[in-house]
Amino acid sequence: MMESIPLEHGMIVAGILFCLGLIGVMTRRNVIFILMSLEIMLNAGGLAFIVAAARWQHADGQIMFLMILTLAAAEVAVGLGLIIQMFRRHHTVDISVLNQMKG
């Protein structure tokens, strides 16, 4: 039942997911999409940890994944609050209006 899966393949999948998330962050202008792409990246990181845990056959990877999950939750909560603030001020979700730190 439990046959062996090559380690690299798991890592490669995590890598692909991470890069896709990165593309999403770099490309999209809607700030909610950017947040979603960030979630994708975090998730890919978690996948990498679980793959590693499966390789070494202990639970530390899962605990790390738990921490990442907690972090993602906290980040999403605060991030969405900030998005709401931004929407109230600028009445748009375009990220290019937030450029006052330029120069």
Partner: protein
């Protein structure tokens, strides 16, 4: 009494300090008492010291006031040295100086810078005294620079007029050229002889160097350069006519009686050195001769009363240089003394004229004032007679001695002839001044402005201009006994006749038949000569082309200051780099994400590669 020699420059220096530190708040009477009184006190002290020294058996007296610097083997102190030469100089400086200070208390009474004037004058007298009393060349150089500074301050006394500031700067810069030459000479003497104490140095030079040795010639030439600058001889004479922009009393004191004679004093002091360098000494004579002729011709064409007197000063100092050049040391010092008397007299009288005519300087606008300005007229007659070396004036005795000494020297006939021509010119231009300004038809109706403070110095100086020829300068011990020069009766008669001829020619051309002078001036050759001589033989224009223009050109090239640009360039580079990098801060989040990704890629590739 001799121990008090240190007080001599101290009195005027204290006067200077009091006047400066009172910030001009003292009443005018107090300023006059402090200003003139300090120099008067110095004169009394100088008289006492001189009598003490001359009646004693001492040849010289020297006193160390304090040690100025002591570095390694080299010690230099504030030490004063008194001998016959120094005695003559201090008496002239304090005596004539006091008379001029007294005159100025009346002359400058309406000027708002009254206290400033006396402060600067006192500082000048102090510096000049230090110069002539100095025992070593370093202290002499201190006095040298001090009088240069005071000359600058006083020429530009009325500084609100930029032309005065320009004249002061010109004087300072031109004399600076001479000062640099002198400083280099000092360095050379120190490295060669190991000491800067004048007497030790002269002794060492006599022992170590043979006559005509190269080092001696170079050192003497360098010192000559300094003397030429300060005494306004060729080629550094261009500053003195412009220095007439200052008040008349300082023209009298600084640019007639004392500072310009500092060069003569320097050469006389270091005469041993010049005797060891015949080439340099010969050059001194020729410089003197050429300068006296050039200045004589120029004075003939001037119309500003003070400029005529300035050129005559240049000419007379040329005589002194001529005397030094032929080895007539005591004759030159004698002429220095008599010149101080009659030139100060002439300048002070000119001041009276100028003041009475409300600052009119042009002699062609004056005329026929002999009745209205009697004191000035009498002073001018006496002074001009002494200047022209008419018989029985002080100038006659001194000038004759110099010319006789020139004749006695080998190959000196040319010098003598030039000197005699110069005497003719001197009589011509000085009496031209008298005739045009004082005789003829009256042009102004005016009253003379002369109080006691102005008339008394004029009277004293007039007396000295006549009787000063009988004073015997006690400088034998300094220069060694000079030979009495005897010349034939014809020579003496010739030398007496020439100035009288000059007076007659002046009477003819400028009083009796002025149209002859006018027609000469109007002719092509005459007109060209007149313009050429008027511009001081074109020397100002020459210097403008040769020195001023290239220097200004170079300064303009460096207008943006190369080194400053270097440092400013570094700052500009940094700012430019900042601007470039700041363009990466667009404020756009996606751009930042892209740059993070790029950085990540680069980092990993670096990690993989290394």
């Amino acid at each position: 009494m001799l121990d008090l020699v240190g007080l001599l420059p101290l009195f005027p220096l204290l006067g200077f300090l009091i006047l400066v530190l009172s910030f001009g708040r003292l009443p005018k009477l107090a300023v006059a008492i402090v200003g003139a009184g300090s120099v008067g006190l110095s004169f009394l002290l100088a008289a006492g010291i001189s009598i003490t020294l001359l009646t004693s058996n001492m040849e010289s007296f020297s006193r160390l006031i304090w040690t100025w610097m002591s570095v390694g083997d080299f010690t230099s102190g504030f030490s004063f040295y008194l001998d016959g030469l120094a005695v003559v100089m201090i008496l002239v400086i304090t005596g004539v100086g006091f008379l001029i200070h007294l005159y100025s208390t009346g002359f400058m009474i309406d000027d708002p810078g009254y206290a400033k004037f006396f402060a600067y004058m006192n500082l000048f007298v102090a510096a000049m005294l230090v110069l002539v009393l100095a025992d070593n060349l370093v202290l002499l150089y201190l006095g040298w620079e001090g009088v240069g500074l005071c000359s600058y301050l006083l020429i530009g006394f009325w500084y609100e007029n930029p032309a005065n500031g320009y004249a002061a700067r010109k004087a300072f810069v031109v004399t600076r050229v001479g000062d640099t030459s002198m400083a280099v000479g000092l360095f050379l003497l120190f490295t060669q002889l190991g000491t800067l104490n004048i007497q030790d140095m002269l002794l060492g030079a006599e022992q170590q160097w043979v006559t005509g040795q190269g080092v001696a010639v170079v050192a003497a030439l360098l010192l000559l350069g300094g003397a030429v600058g300060k005494s306004a001889q060729l080629p550094l004479q261009t500053w003195l006519p412009d220095a007439m922009a200052g008040p008349t009393p300082i023209s009298a004191l600084i640019h007639a009686a004392t500072m310009v004679t500092a060069g003569v004093y320097l050469i006389a002091r270091t005469h041993v050195l010049f005797e060891l360098a015949p080439l340099a000494q010969n050059l001194v004579a020729w410089v003197g001769l050429i300068t006296l002729l050039m200045a004589g011709f120029t004075a003939l064409t001037q119309f500003d009363i003070k400029r005529i007197l300035a050129y005559s000063t240049i000419s007379q100092i040329g005589y002194m240089f001529l005397g030094l050049g032929v080895g007539a040391w005591s004759a030159s010092i004698f002429h220095l003394m008599t010149h101080a008397f009659f030139k100060a007299l002439l300048f002070l009288a000119a001041g009276t004229v100028i003041l009475s005519l409300h600052h009119e300087h042009n002699i062609f606008k004056m005329g026929g004032m002999w009745r209205q300005l009697p004191v000035a007229f009498a002073s001018f007659i006496i002074g001009s007679a002494a200047l022209a070396a008419l018989p029985f004036t002080a100038g006659y005795f001194s000038k004759d001695e110099i010319l006789l000494a020139a004749l006695a020297v080998e190959g000196g006939t040319l010098l003598w002839l030039g000197g005699v021509l110069g005497a003719f010119l001197t009589a011509l231009y000085s009496f031209r001044l008298v005739f045009i300004a004082f005789l003829g038809k009256p042009s102004h109706a005016t009253r003379e402005v002369t109080g006691f403070t102005m008339a008394f110095p004029l009277a004293v100086l007039a007396f000295l201009s006549l009787a000063g020829g009988l004073i015997h300068v006690p400088v034998e011990q300094v220069f060694g006994l000079s030979e009495e020069h005897h010349a034939g009766f014809l020579v003496h008669a010739f030398m007496i006749a020439v100035p009288i001829l000059g007076v007659a020619a002046a009477w003819l051309f400028f009083l009796a038949r002025p149209q002859w002078a006018e027609s000469m001036k109007a002719s092509t050759v005459g007109g060209a000569l007149h313009r050429f001589w008027f511009s001081g033989w074109g020397m100002d224009a020459l210097y403008q082309i040769v020195f001023v223009r290239p220097f200004v050109f170079l300064a303009n090239l460096n207008r943006h200051d190369f080194f400053d640009t270097l440092y400013a360039g570094i700052a500009a580079l940094t700012r430019g780099g900042h601007k470039m990098v700041a363009q990466a801060q667009t404020g756009q989040l996606r751009w930042y994400a892209v740059s993070i990704a790029i950085g990540l890629v680069l980092m990993i590739s670096l990690g993989v590669a290394l």
